[in-house]
């Protein structure tokens, strides 16, 4: 009985510790996901960095226009992006699930 109680306490503290750790990981995961989403937005919208010549493309759309001589305002299609382009965020199953849940909630 005594030993059991001791074991119980030990297990309890272990459990508490693990739950804490899990919580921390969850937070980190959310933070990373948010981070990725934000970075991705920045990347896809093409206003990152100091480079003025943004229409060289990105790794989602490819760099086909890299060699082309760009004229001002001629290539507007480069700046728009859809949510389908969010390769980095969409590579997380959790993210996709969250979106689906959200959509259902709205309906």
């Amino acid at each position: 009985m005594e030993g059991n109680l001791k074991e119980y306490e030990k297990l309890k503290s272990e459990l508490i510790k693990n739950i804490e750790a899990k919580k921390g990981l969850e937070e980190e995961f959310d933070r990373l996901q948010q981070d990725i989403y934000d970075n991705e937005t920045e990347y896809l919208s093409g206003n990152q960095g100091t480079s003025k010549n943004n229409n060289i493309g990105n790794i989602i759309k490819g760099f086909d226009s890299f060699n082309k001589v760009s004229r001002h305002g001629s290539d507007l299609s480069n700046h728009g992006f859809t949510n389908d382009d969010r390769l980095f965020s969409l590579s997380s199953a959790v993210f996709v699930k969250q979106q689906l849940d959200d959509m259902q909630e709205q309906e």
Partner: protein, 861 residues
């Protein structure tokens, strides 16, 4: 054997190029067609080659990407001009191959034979490897099952990336490995590790001694080569370690990427292998390297060297295409470097993202593991808990039900909050509306109201929806308008069933499609935004300047209160107009500027460092000043005493009727000149003398004082200055925000143009009048002429009649006699009138005279 990309058949002619149908573009197509036509050339050209040598009509031309080349199929060939074809076959190629290819041993022998004896009995061939046999054991080695996917296979790694080490063991290596190294019971070195080591030797030597084949004996020792080997890191060990560190991957297991060959996963680290087996293996590999021909253990493809062009060597594969070098300008250089930099940035960003994703996956993995662990522990925990029948700590068993926040949700949350606020506004408007409805309800009878309220509720709902849809943004004004429409409908339209109709009578209801979606911004907001932006701009600029100054300079203009300037106006600028003069504002002269170090002390009044001056500019003794605080003039404070320069406006408080309080203000400054000018008109001395030394009562009309007061009354409201002490005449300039001089000039020119217009109009009018008068005169003159002629005729007739009368009988009474002289005199009178007045009068008089005469004559008759 014709060389695929040789120049033998590169002399495409223009007629072929001109025919664009079925033409293809690109080097592939070009080489393909080359091969074809080359073959044809060899067949057709050989027998007649001697004839053709004479006149080469076609230039040898390089194939370029830009030219279209046609592929001929065998059945197209008979349609081609035979002669042309023959000519096209390279004129200077007698044997069908290029000169240096004729040196090939077998071909050389054949050519020699054919030139020696014309009749060839036995046909000779260039030997080719026998490719007819199949490999019987193929099925044993290649038996993977491959399911072809419906989509394209996307894979960006090269074959070399995936197959691990480039070195491939052969039988010699195998025997060496099994006999020399793995001679003990358990194998020490796996085949994969052997290959890894050898390939890293290869690459290191290739880097250090690219021209080893010239002197194979000079090969470096392992110790010399080691740093290169470790640096080159052929298995990407160190890269993987650093990556693992970045991601947070546990260091015990090596990272295996998708590109890593399966075999590579079990390989130990290169440095370890190098330490243990390096020496032994290196000797083996070195001896093989030196022995082998061209110091290559395995035959390798021969590539074109970047510098030297080996056009003649037929064994070079993947030749570079000759591209005309574009003209290099500085601009293009800069542009390209910009582009490269942008690309680099782009890729770095992508890499960062990829790294983040990897991290996320790692965390996700850890999370799952943790979750499993927690789950297991909970199982154990529950068992124990039941056994011990402990009631507490239930919360440890349940996952807290906090839904993890979504990324989009974060954005949506804000939007929803906004929407909720708007909805609340709508709600409020509706409730106020309903309260108004209640008031109306009391008046009308119950039935109607019930109907009405029902329909209103419907209407409200509709409107709520509508307004939420359209006017969620500009709910402020638009919704208000709509809500106003409701009570109106309520009070006027008690008929119930169609309140919407009634509403539409009273107020124009826009269909939802016509309600503009534009957010109506208030002027205040816009202005405050503008203000904010301006402030921000200034602050940003100051920040930037501060950064630029660094620690080297201290910019005293950073502080909006400091420094204090002594501003001085140029002599010819008048202070009152200076602020409105664009010219003058740029001409302020800064005599000196100084920075007061303890400005905050001044503001708080705790400083000792104050210098005070009297009006005349003399400095007061230091201890004498009582006031240390910076003075701010409060005009509404009683017994206000100000020590610094006085406020430009004076205020006076007075009470009017009904106890209304007025505050008057007037300028607190006068020109000293005013009195001097007054002195020209008024004799102040005389006034003083009269008032003070009055011996007797002064006559009112002689009193100078009265005169002054009358004058003052007369000019009381004729001040050249307004309340602010500015000259009234300069107010237009002030309103227009230009200098008075400019205003004067503008006004003057305006007057000038105005008066010119008027003058022009008047002139035109005058001229028109003049012209019409002249015309009238001419007409009148003509009329007069006619009349005079008539008159003369009449006169003549009259005279004749008179003569007849006089001659016929003198029985005329007195009355008629007395009249006749006046008639006769009439022409003379009319002549007189002609001199004085206009001709028309004259005419009338004549006419009158004529009429009179005729009537006279008729009377007389």
């Amino acid at each position: 054997m014709p060389q695929p990309s040789g120049s033998a058949s590169s002399n495409k002619n223009k007629s072929i190029n001109g025919d664009k149908s079925g033409a293809i573009e690109g080097s592939k197509g070009a080489s393909g067609s080359n091969g074809n036509s080359g073959d044809i050339g060899a067949k057709n050209g050989e027998p007649t080659s001697a004839d053709v040598v004479g006149g080469p009509r076609f230039r040898h031309r390089k194939i370029s990407v830009k030219q279209r080349l046609r592929i001929y199929k065998p059945n197209d060939l008979k349609n081609l001009d035979q002669e042309e074809l023959q000519q096209r076959v390279a004129a200077d190629i007698e044997t069908g191959v290029e000169k240096n290819e004729e040196k090939e041993v077998h071909l050389h022998r054949i050519l020699q034979k054919s030139s020696g004896q014309l009749s060839i009995q036995k046909k000779d061939y260039i030997p080719t490897p026998d490719a007819s046999e199949t490999w019987k054991e193929f099925g044993q080695f290649y038996q993977g099952n491959f399911d072809e996917p419906a989509s394209y296979i996307k894979f960006s790694a090269t074959v070399e990336d995936c197959c691990g080490s480039s070195y491939i063991m052969d039988e010699v290596d195998d025997t060496f490995l099994s006999e020399q190294i793995n001679n003990k019971k358990q194998p020490l070195l796996s085949e994969d590790e052997f290959e890894l080591l050898c390939s890293s030797f290869e690459s290191a030597i290739h880097e250090r001694q690219p021209f080893l084949s010239t002197d194979p004996q000079s090969i470096l020792s392992l110790d010399e080569l080691k740093p290169t080997i470790i640096k080159s890191d052929s298995n990407h060990q160190s890269l993987k370690i650093s990556l693992a560190k970045d991601i947070g991957f546990s260091a015990e297991k090596p990272i295996v990427t998708e590109f890593d060959a399966e075999s590579q996963s079990k390989v130990r680290s290169l440095t370890f292998l190098l330490e243990k087996f390096g020496d032994q293996l290196y000797e083996h590999w070195k001896s093989r390297k030196i022995e082998s021909s061209h110091t290559e253990i395995f035959p390798k493809l021969k590539f074109e060297r970047p510098d030297e062009k080996e056009e003649v060597d037929p064994y070079v594969c993947f030749r570079r295409r000759d591209v005309r070098q574009p003209r290099k300008t500085r601009r293009i250089d800069i542009l390209n470097s910009h582009k490269l930099r942008a690309l680099h940035e782009e890729l770095e960003h992508a890499q960062k993202l990829a790294l983040l994703v990897a991290k996320r996956e790692q965390v996700s993995l850890n999370l799952l593991e943790k979750e499993l662990q927690v789950f297991d522990e909970r199982g154990e925990f529950k068992k124990l808990k039941r056994a011990l029948s402990i009631k507490e700590d239930d919360e440890l068993l349940i996952n807290p039900k906090s839904r993890r926040l979504n990324i989009f949700a974060n954005q949506k949350k804000q939007q929803q909050q906004q929407a909720a606020a708007d909805a609340a506004a709508v709600e409020a408007a509706i409730t106020s509306d309903s309260s108004m409805k209640k008031g109306a309800r009391n008046k009308a009878n119950k039935k109607d109201i019930d109907q009405c309220s029902k329909s209103h509720q419907k209407l409200n709902k509709q409107q709520q929806l509508q307004s939420q849809k359209n006017a969620i943004e500009n709910s402020g004004s638009a919704v208000d308008n709509k809500q106003i429409a409701l009570p109106a409908a309520n009070s006027t339209g008690q008929q119930g069933p169609q309140p919407q109709m009634v509403a539409s009578h009273v107020y124009v209801r826009l269909p939802s499609s016509k309600v503009p979606d534009i957010v109506l911004e208030e002027v205040e907001d816009l202005l405050s935004d503008k203000e904010k932006n301006a402030r921000k701009f200034v602050l940003d600029k100051m920040d930037k300047r501060k950064l630029e100054d660094g620690d080297i300079f201290f910019n005293i203009t950073d502080d909006p209160y400091n420094p204090v300037f002594d501003l001085v106006l140029p002599n010819d600028v008048i202070p009152s107009t200076a602020p409105f003069s664009s010219i003058a504002s740029s001409r302020f002269e800064v005599d000196r500027s100084y920075y007061s170090p303890n400005l905050s002390d001044y503001m708080n009044g705790t400083t000792d460092n104050i210098r005070a001056y009297t009006r005349t500019g003399d400095k007061l003794p230091d201890k004498n000043c009582k006031v240390k605080k910076i003075e701010l003039y409060d005009p509404f404070q009683n017994h206000n005493e100000i020590h610094s320069r006085e406020y430009p406006v004076k205020f006076r408080r007075r009470f009017g009727r009904h106890g209304i309080e007025y505050i008057d203000r007037k300028p607190n400054q006068f020109d000293a000149n005013v009195e001097a000018t007054l002195g020209d008109f008024l004799n102040f001395d005389e006034i003083e003398r009269q008032e003070k030394h009055a011996t007797s009562a002064i006559n009112v009309y002689e009193s100078k004082w009265d005169e002054l007061s009358r004058l003052y009354d007369k000019w009381k409201h004729d001040s050249p200055r307004n309340d602010y002490g500015l000259k009234v005449s300069e107010e237009p300039a002030r309103l227009n925000q230009i200098s008075n001089e400019t205003q004067v000039i503008r006004f003057g020119t305006m007057l000038g143009s105005k008066s010119y217009e008027q003058l022009r109009e008047v002139t035109i009018k005058y001229r028109q009048e003049y012209i019409s008068r002249i015309k009238q005169q001419k007409i009148n003159n003509q009329k007069q002429l006619l009349l005079q002629q008539q008159l003369q005729q009449q006169l003549q007739q009259q005279q004749q009649q008179q003569q007849q009368q006089q001659s016929s009988g003198k029985n005329i009474n007195n009355g008629t006699l007395s009249r006749t002289p006046s008639i006769i005199a009439s022409p003379a009178a009319s002549n007189k009138m002609n001199d004085t007045s206009g001709s028309s009068d004259n005419n009338e008089a004549n006419l009158f005279a004529a009429n009179h005469k005729s009537s006279n004559s008729s009377q007389t008759a």
